[in-house]
């Protein structure tokens, strides 16, 4: 075996150096690239990476409940499911779609129409369905169809509390009433959290809570469910019986200024608002203004008493020919030669009230009306509260001063009128109103002396006795005081001859008033239209039930109150 020594091959040095440089160069490129990615592009890349698995989920905050003063629920939010789809991903047989349509309560044709456009990314199939139905729909296991949770507002009180509570839209934002007025405190703030989802969309890890969801606060209203229900039923019955166009009623607690009941007819069911008319939606007690008619007379008389010009027993000349002011004549239907000031209220004499008013300064009248809350919003914070219309005194002509004495040429809302009567109920103090439950008696503003307020209250009590205009307002067990009103409706700038607004505002019990109840019936057209016949019985029914439910002690002998006999009831002028 011969062996050959390996030849020593000497490679040129430059080749090794070349390879070395190549390797170093390649490493440098890599280092540069990683420096570029790590240091300069890192945020962008991390974001992209996270987007593959991390998701931010919205956590809804529940809207607060609306309760009455006894804790009964008037508005509750409950979770419901909304069914949505990505049309391009849906893969289902027509039979399956029909099944789905019946389960979620929609039309099968409507459903396939919604799914027909594959270019859309998101389409609601049905919003806000009951959780059980949603569960069954989910069990069909159709691809491309998803559900998410929403809250829906329910109103257990239905039409009884519809106008007070109002309602929310489909996204739970307040649209009317308390729901709108207290949106800020009722509405919850949604929170959000970051989670990691796996390939199948299940949440596998909770990373962080970005913002905690905040639930809305519950709100206790001043409304008393029992009195509200009673007021609503009595008003509805009266509006139906007298074939009236509409009606409204307000019950106030004199001591705290709380609104115990507020109802309107016609009303609506807030749980089903598919067919609603504007007339149903109107909260007449707060947003509509009308000429109050005779219910304003006690204020004219109160001012005259306060100024010391007259006393309750002073005689006022009436005469049979009416009172001529400028080119107009004011008439009473059953004129007497003379009435005392107290009888002017009792019989509701227009001539008497006008004659007393003409002896007053118009600036004094204006400022007194204003202090009694007319011409300004009653301050409940309710959306659309009417301020009424009280023109500046400088523009009053003598005839206007005379008609304003009996409530024409001035417009008020029923709530303003009810509030103004707290002046007589609280011995001269006007009380601030509240729709929210408050435990403390409210501090009033003095508008009249206690003496004058008591004198007017005595006259108002006379007005509901036989011989007055409102004996149908009396109830067994409690003394009541109040004033009827029957006003011609304004139409096309004049007064309609055969359209009236009948009203009654009263206090009970008269010895130590606890409640003010104001009733307004718009266009009673079943033969009767006097406030004493149409509105006073509603007052009586509501006051009776409310006083009993509040446990107010009796202040009158327990004798049945007969209906007024022939000639025992005075018919007021309109």
């Amino acid at each position: 075996m011969s062996s050959v020594a390996p030849a020593l091959v000497r490679l040129p040095v430059w080749r090794a150096r070349f390879v070395m440089a190549g390797l170093v160069g390649a490493f440098a490129v890599l280092a540069g690239r990683s420096l570029y990615l790590q240091a300069m592009h890192t945020d962008f890349l991390q974001e992209k990476g996270e987007a593959r698995y991390s998701r931010v989920l919205e956590v809804p905050g529940t809207r607060g409940r609306v309760l009455d003063r006894n804790g009964e629920a008037l508005a509750i939010s409950t979770p419901v499911q909304s069914v949505w789809a990505i049309p391009g991903d849906v893969d289902a047989t027509p039979a399956q779609l029909r099944k789905l349509a019946t389960l979620i309560g929609t039309d099968a044709r409507e459903l396939s129409r919604k799914l027909s456009d594959p270019s859309r990314d998101f389409v609601y199939l049905k919003r806000q369905i009951a959780p059980e139905a949603a569960e069954r729909a989910a069990q069909l296991g159709l691809a491309g169809i998803y559900q998410h949770r929403e809250y829906r507002r329910y109103y257990p009180g239905g039409e009884v509390t519809a106008h007070v509570v109002g309602f929310t839209g489909v996204d739970e934002a307040g649209q009317e009433g308390i729901e709108l007025a207290f949106e800020a405190s009722l509405g919850g703030t949604p929170g959000s959290r970051r989670v990691i989802k796996d390939r199948r969309g299940r949440v596998v890890e909770d990373i962080e809570s970005i913002r905690a969801a905040q639930d809305g606060r519950d709100l206790a209203l001043s409304i008393d469910g029992k009195i509200q229900s009673l007021a609503h039923a009595a008003l509805k019955a009266a509006v139906t019986a007298h074939k009236a166009r509409a009606g409204a009623i307000v019950v106030l607690d004199v001591r705290t200024g709380e609104v115990l009941a507020l109802a309107n007819a016609p009303s609506f069911n807030p749980n089903n608002r598919a067919r609603l008319s504007g007339a149903q939606l109107r909260n007449r007690a707060l947003t509509d203004i009308f000429e109050p008619g005779s219910t304003l007379k006690p204020f004219t008389i109160a001012l005259a008493l306060e100024s010391g010009r007259v006393s309750p027993a002073s005689s006022v000349h009436i005469g049979t020919s009416g009172l001529r002011v400028a080119n107009h004549t004011i008439h009473d239907p059953h004129p007497e030669t003379a009435l005392t000031v107290a009888q002017v209220i009792q019989k509701s004499s227009n001539v008497g009230a006008a004659r007393i008013a003409l002896a007053l300064h118009r600036e004094d009248m204006w400022s007194f009306f204003q202090r009694a809350g007319f011409g300004a919003q009653p301050g409940l914070g309710f959306p659309g509260e009417a301020a009424g219309m009280l023109r500046p005194a400088a523009t009053w002509r003598p005839i206007e001063q005379a008609t304003m004495a009996y409530g024409h040429g001035i417009s008020v809302s029923l709530m303003q009128l009810a509030r103004a009567y707290t002046v007589f109920a609280r011995d001269g103090e006007l009380v601030p109103l509240s729709l929210v439950k408050s435990a403390v008696p409210a501090a009033g503003t003095r508008v009249l002396s206690a003496q004058t307020a008591r004198e007017v209250r005595a006259m108002l009590e006379l007005a509901v006795q036989p011989g007055g205009t409102g004996p149908r307002a009396r109830i067994m067990g409690w003394r009541v005081a109040g004033k009827t009103g029957t006003a011609h409706k304004q139409e096309n700038g004049g007064y309609a001859a055969d359209k009236y607004i009948a009203s009654f505002v009263g206090l009970a019990p008269a010895s130590a008033p606890r409640l003010v109840v104001a009733v307004m019936i718009d266009e009673p057209s079943n033969g009767q239209y006097f406030g004493g016949v149409v509105a006073a019985p509603v007052f009586a029914e509501v006051a009776r039930g409310a006083l009993r439910s509040l446990g107010v002690p009796y202040d009158a002998p327990l004798e049945p109150v007969p209906l007024p006999g022939e000639g025992e009831e005075a018919w007021e002028s309109t």
Binding site: E72, A73, I76, S77, T78, P79, P131, R149, Y154, P156, G157, G158, V160, V203, V204, E205, D206, G225, K226, S229, L230, A233, R255, I475, M476, G477, R544, R548, G551, V552, P553, Y554, L558
Partner: protein, 90 residues
């Protein structure tokens, strides 16, 4: 030197196992949390339903209908009611 390395390796293994266990525990707790949240949601749904049901049964109009119709009750006359004032209270 080798001893120190071995020790460090041991520590490393213990730490790694600890990480695995705690990760596992976290996953388990998380799924428990998810279950509890789902249950909370179910209870919330039921609570809402019961609240609605309660207020539907307690509707004043319904109570009145049942009292006067089925039970033959009526509102007492004022003469049959005595109001007792509590000293100091309104």
């Amino acid at each position: 030197m080798a001893k120190l390395n071995l020790l460090l390796l041991l520590v490393l293994v213990v730490c790694a196992l600890g990480l695995v266990t705690s990760q596992h525990k976290a996953r388990k707790l998380f799924s428990e949390l998810e279950r509890a949240q789902a249950r909370a949601h179910d209870l919330e749904v039921e609570f809402g339903k019961l609240q609605l049901e309660a207020s539907t049964w307690a509707l004043h109009a319904r109570i009145e209908r049942v009292a006067t119709g089925t039970l033959g009750m009526r509102t007492p006359d004022a003469r049959q009611v005595r109001v007792i004032g509590v000293a100091g209270a309104p």
